[in-house]
């Protein structure tokens, strides 16, 4: 079952590389922010899979924290791009 998790992790890395193309060459800043958000949510799942591969439950706490930081970062970026300032 560990090899199954390794295969799933490698496939997630391939999808992250596909999204990284859109984050690098995507026209405009909104495409880039959306691609970075998608990469962050894929990274959360990759961290959980890595926790099962290495049999370390510590990785789940890191993935919880990363999910919250990714969500807050996307919200702040969207608000900044919409208003031009960060004053609420």
């Amino acid at each position: 079952m560990i090899s199954m998790f390794l295969v799933i992790g490698l496939l997630i890395v391939v999808t992250i590389l596909l999204c990284l193309y859109r984050a690098v060459v995507g026209p405009g800043v909104f495409n880039r922010v959306a691609a970075v958000n998608v990469i962050g949510t894929k990274t959360v799942v990759l961290l959980v899979i890595m926790g099962y591969c290495f049999e370390r439950p510590l990785f789940f706490d890191i993935s919880l924290l990363y999910a919250m930081l990714n969500f807050i970062g996307t919200l702040v970026f969207a608000k900044y791009l919409e208003r031009g300032e960060l004053c609420f």
Partner: protein
């Protein structure tokens, strides 16, 4: 034990399929709004399926420590709330900023 492994493998494969569909949609669609139409739903469903499969795997292979399963359940609920909210916020910001939606016959943007 074997049946549980088969169920977990099917859930992980289905989640991986949806995540690939989301990534291909992010690459191939012609416009910002259509790209987020692809990723905002497919990624949420794919990650939910993968984490659901991992919860089942954990409950049947490590029944002594259910705290990790609770953490995964919290992550599942959080992703299902936060990911569509983030997508909606980016789309609202782009629309208020004046980004025009793509129409039939225009080139890729």
């Amino acid at each position: 034990m074997l049946l549980i492994d088969v169920i977990v493998t099917i859930l992980l494969g289905a989640g991986m399929f949806f995540m690939f569909i989301g990534a291909i949609g992010l690459l191939r669609f012609p416009d910002f709004y259509t790209r987020l139409h692809a990723t905002g739903k497919c990624d949420t469903l794919g990650e939910g399926l993968i984490i659901a499969g991992l919860i089942i795997y954990h409950l049947f292979h490590y029944p002594g420590i259910p705290l990790v399963a609770v953490k995964l359940l919290i992550l599942f609920i959080f992703i299902f709330i936060a990911n569509p909210t983030a997508t909606h916020t980016i789309v609202k910001a782009a629309y208020n900023k004046g980004l025009k939606p793509w129409r039939l016959g225009e080139g890729r943007r």
